[in-house]
Symmetry: C2
Subunit: 681 residues, 2 copies
């Protein structure tokens, strides 16, 4: 490992800052997840400190995050007394404890987000950096002061509740708070090298390890997540006891000693052997985080039983339960998995579920190097997760819907939910998801204008500049600057949504032999100044669900690139309060609107508007009746789902009832002789 | 009032048994609900004792109920110790208490069902009558022996739980058990004149009235239902204190004294003024029973605030929340109202919800005389409620679905649910729903072969014979035998599903001026031996939901007469494990199959079968892809929904994805110039 410092060489008429040959400290070389020493992981993510998001899609959202969400969320937590909870325990303030029992985790998530912000090269710009660094320092000082001499640290189980500490850890949420303490501490360490919070999290972890285990008191995670945090603590500290304890938690061996009910095991997705799971059930976030923890454990252990269970769960999620926006549809009004294929338009999902999907799919991707995991990562990231934040305000979502009628989905209260914090952690750490090295070269997992300042695994330094308007446009330009000519494979992700790809190196067209949903490997001796041009022609496409999704029959959703589009009432001024139908085959066109919602590409799509069914209309009527009265052609304007709900409250629809246009080609050829025409062939 | 005894006159070559002029006892003249003295009720239902269901649809189902369900359910309750609970309290048996805390209500519902069976003239046939009478007598003796000297009667709050009696009546279920005790006692009294159980229920009610009330301890019904039972107790006993207490419960005035949470009021649909409700929410059965109680109260009080609230609730139920089978769709996995218009194919509902809908719509019908309430009564009765029982076994349903994939919906355990008992009470009391008198004449609310032996409200005796194969066939023949020529209006219900009606009196065609969803009034001087022939041409029709029901877009259900039809996998042997589509406009044809499921009319409908989406097929695919591969025309065979789930477990669908047949007429004329063809126009 080496730390890239300063230096300058002239190559291809560019001045490139280069590294002196000087080892970089361990903390600076660790990625969002530190797989450097994980024998079973194919990818080793480049650290946040090595990637600068320079401009474009994510630069705008990260700027908004740093300027509004990050300070705004801490302001709100201060207003709600969540930081005072720590000051209270430390004796600095005499106030009642406030907030949910697990609100410490919210404070830790803020620390994690702020740390990733500070770790990011572009996060170094004053004055934001100084302000956030100062608030982070103050917060860490407050947290540390609240830690007990035993290492125990939880503001809920203090003062008059001290005697309840760890008396019911399966239901208390203490595990959940410790998870986020560890994750915050690791982020802070990887961002700054500061070990104070890391040592505190180790002391609390050691307190737990001294108390619980197969030969001590029994434990299962009531809120899985501690497993992945402990694996990461093992990776950070090198102490195998944390990996062992994660294995213990995943083993579920202490179910009987804990007297767990089936219903608890069901909802926790914990308390029985992880490897015995064959499908997702129970509370969505717990289950997905359990899968992330198991994937982390698999990366270290290589245990095939885990691989088998994770493969089954991946199929279950992606083939039966994942909404098109990459979130997880839940039972009405709750946070639990709905039945397989029960993914109707009205389904709601937490942005946290898409964030959790990103976390898990990134782990599966790093483990295997298979692009299909990156496809889901991208689907969840650009749609369900991104919808959790807001480009226009500090408002965030706890629930999002694929379709809703005048329901307000954004609120400002961080005390009620952790979703905006999870989304902010993801936004600030996102640079750590873009690039990864492998033994044979370099992977590009996500496209956004950015600079990578890192090294290959044979220690040859490399700087890479990526320039693109992705996801608005499918053209990506790369400029590579290895410190010397070096042979390696550049793996370029071909997203599954792109039906074709064009590739050229130094202006020479190269045939692409792989297909959508793979990585395109380019193996050559790369010279400083080499450039690559990649293009995924971006088209508007309409998608339908397969027939097992009964609730979506006859409906289509519109996508462009990785983005799912949504119909919001705001754009349909010409057809207020209407039933809206969409033509199956478009054609759709795209237009970039710089002034709209922070700059978005809208899609125009042909459709129809009709009088909305009156409130006193019978629920059921003869099927020969026309769907909607006074139907007329209109042009629908759709916006990216990630921008949903930022304006007036109104009708929204991802899945729109489809009508087949007559001018599309006759269906006879594909129709096996039927003399019928279908709405959707 | 007079009791119809014996006598014989010869009229129209028939020997008719007639009444001697002798007053019938009060108990014998009371209908299922006794509205004889209710000033605000338009209809006064003829008593169960006056109506003999002679043959046809309901005769078969009532026979099956009496022979299998009635004895079978008591056997199961004995096996599960629910009757022993009473013997235990009486000191007759030394056994532990078993079953749910509210299982006494199950025993009372059995008593109610058995009493209505014994009240029914055709229920007099030996040997069933003697056996059931004997078991009923034994059961009543056991119940009475368990009553405390104070009047208190509940086997759960006895022995070591005696000190908990009435300590938390809002949550204890004591109200629910008392409701069913009163209803059972009234049924037994109206069937047999035996006052023993009635007096017991009065003693317990008086115990409650002495303890609770505005100037005593506060009460609200945790499980509404006591309100309607108390109104009926007022009607039966003449004591206004029971009506007053019902008014107190409906008033919700003691919310503050009870410290009720909003969430409790929401789920109970009680604890705040009934008249403040504008939409249904919370637990379905509680809410519908609260509405029945409020309707009963309205029939006595005439309070317009109740009428206003009930009108709003009726619209809310029928325009936004009632499934096409007349049950109420619930949130996934629960018993709570789903969101408005959230009535997808996968929605489940309890048969109890359809039974509760029958109870409420019958009350609204009797109150107003408006046939639209009878339409909903019929919809719920012939579909959702009837599906709760079984023609083939004593198995019953707790949940039914409109669509399900290989889910077993019938079980045998009465300990887990009260649905089969509610359905059995309805079946045994059904004869009481058929006929009603009014000041101006006689109403026929439901069609089934039957004999009415009753009198008009001016005391002129009348016997009426109804002969029909309804609901398999729409022809109804009536023979009227008033004891003397008498002028009155015969009100014949024209179901809303029938687009036309043919009517003749004594062979002479009579023009019908009203329309579907009304009562056809025939005012004339009726002579002994007059006959009426009525025909509602019965066609197979396809229905769709309005566009606010997002989850049913593009789907149709098939109905014939009042019956909703369902596709069960059993009939689709030619297309196993297929995706099945149906043609919008049929044509459908009907065939009676005597040997099938106890004798049913099946509907044949044109459709298509295609390879079922593979389990590893992507959830989402390009919308231009064909729905289903290898699609071919098939003839679908559909069965009545009331017979669903009686055979092998397999796929079922009420709402089938629709494909529009090309040969139906072009849509241009109705299409407002659009150049498109639609799946469903």
């Amino acid at each position: 490992m080496r730390r890239l410092l300063s230096g300058c060489i002239v190559a291809a008429s560019l001045c490139i800052v280069f590294a002196l040959e000087q080892p970089s400290p361990e903390w600076m070389s660790q990625g969002v997840i530190a797989l450097n020493h994980s024998l079973n992981a194919r990818m080793h993510p480049a650290p946040v400190t090595a990637v600068k998001v320079t401009e474009g899609f994510w630069a705008i959202r990260r700027k908004s995050g740093a300027e509004r969400m990050l300070p705004g969320l801490l302001d709100l937590m201060e207003e709600h007394g969540l930081v005072d909870n720590f000051r209270r325990v430390a004796g600095k303030k005499n106030v009642p404890r406030k907030g949910r029992a697990t609100s410490d985790a919210d404070v830790y998530q803020w620390i994690e987000a702020a740390a990733w912000f500070l770790a990011s090269p572009e996060g170094s710009v004053a004055p934001d950096r100084q302000r956030i660094q100062a608030r982070l320092d103050g917060l860490i000082t407050d947290v540390l002061a609240a830690q007990d001499a035993s290492g125990y640290l939880n503001t809920f189980f203090s003062a008059e509740k001290t005697h309840l500490r760890l008396t019911d850890p399966v239901h208390s949420g203490e595990d959940y708070c410790l998870q986020h303490l560890i994750q915050a501490a690791i982020a802070d360490y990887r961002a700054t090298g500061d070990r104070r919070l890391l040592e505190a999290s180790i002391r609390f972890s050691d307190n737990i390890l001294a108390t619980f285990g197969p030969t001590k008191r029994p434990l299962a995670t009531g809120y899985p997540g501690l497993e992945m945090a402990l694996v990461e603590l093992y990776r950070t500290s090198g102490e195998t006891k944390y990996l062992d304890f994660s294995r213990y938690l995943l083993s579920g061996v202490d179910r009987d000693r804990l007297h767990l009910k089936d219903s608890e095991i069901h909802s926790m997705f914990s308390g029985k052997p992880f490897t015995s799971h064959t499908e997702f059930e129970g509370q969505v976030i717990r289950a997905l985080n359990a899968a992330s923890g198991a994937t982390d454990f698999l990366a270290e252990s290589g245990d095939p039983a885990y691989r088998h269970a994770l493969d089954l769960l991946w199929s279950d999620l992606t083939l039966r339960k994942l909404s098109i926006t990459g979130g997880v549809a839940t039972q009405s009004g709750g946070e639990f998995f709905a039945a397989p294929y029960d993914i109707p338009n009205g389904a709601n999902s937490e942005p946290c579920s898409a964030v959790a999907s990103v976390a898990w799919s990134f782990r599966m991707l790093a483990l295997t190097g298979e692009a299909r995991y990156a496809d889901v990562l991208e689907q969840s990231l650009y749609n369900g997760a991104l919808a959790g934040g807001s480009t226009a305000s500090r408002l965030a979502c706890y629930r999002t819907f694929l379709g809703a009628n005048a329901e307000r989905i954004r609120g400002a209260n961080p005390d009620a939910d952790c979703c905006p914090l999870s989304a902010e952690v993801l936004t600030e750490s996102l640079s750590g998801y873009l690039y990864a090295t492998s033994r044979d070269g370099l992977y590009i997992n996500l496209y956004n204008s950015s600079e990578l300042n890192w090294h290959l695994e044979d220690d040859v330094g490399i700087k890479l500049t990526q320039t693109t308007d992705y996801p608005w446009d499918g053209e990506v330009k790369l400029a590579l600057h290895p410190e010397k000519p070096v042979q390696f494979t550049l793996h370029l992700r071909w997203p599954s949504w792109a039906s074709s790809a064009e590739l050229s190196v130094n202006g020479n067209r190269i045939p692409v032999e792989s297909g959508p949903g793979t990585y395109i490997p380019i193996t050559r001796t790369w010279q400083p100044g080499d450039n690559v041009r990649l293009e995924f022609p971006m088209q508007t496409v309409s998608m339908r669900a397969n027939t097992r999704v009964s609730g979506l029959y006859g409906k289509i959703a519109v996508l462009r690139g990785p983005l799912v589009y949504v119909l919001e009432q705001n754009e349909q001024a010409a057809a207020p309060h209407s039933d809206i139908f969409i033509r199956v085959n478009g054609p759709g066109t795209a237009e970039f609107h710089k002034e709209m919602l922070g700059g978005i590409t809208v899609v125009k799509y042909p459709g129809f508007a009709a009088e909305r069914a009156a409130l006193d209309q019978p629920l059921y009527e003869n099927a020969t009746a026309i769907y909607g009265r006074n139907r007329r052609s209109i042009t629908l304007t759709l916006i990216p789902y990630s921008s949903v709900g930022n304006r007036d409250v109104g009708q929204i629809e991802v899945w729109m009832p489809a009508i087949r246009a007559q001018e599309t080609q006759p269906l006879g050829s594909a129709n096996h002789g039927l003399d019928d025409r279908q709405l959707i062939q």
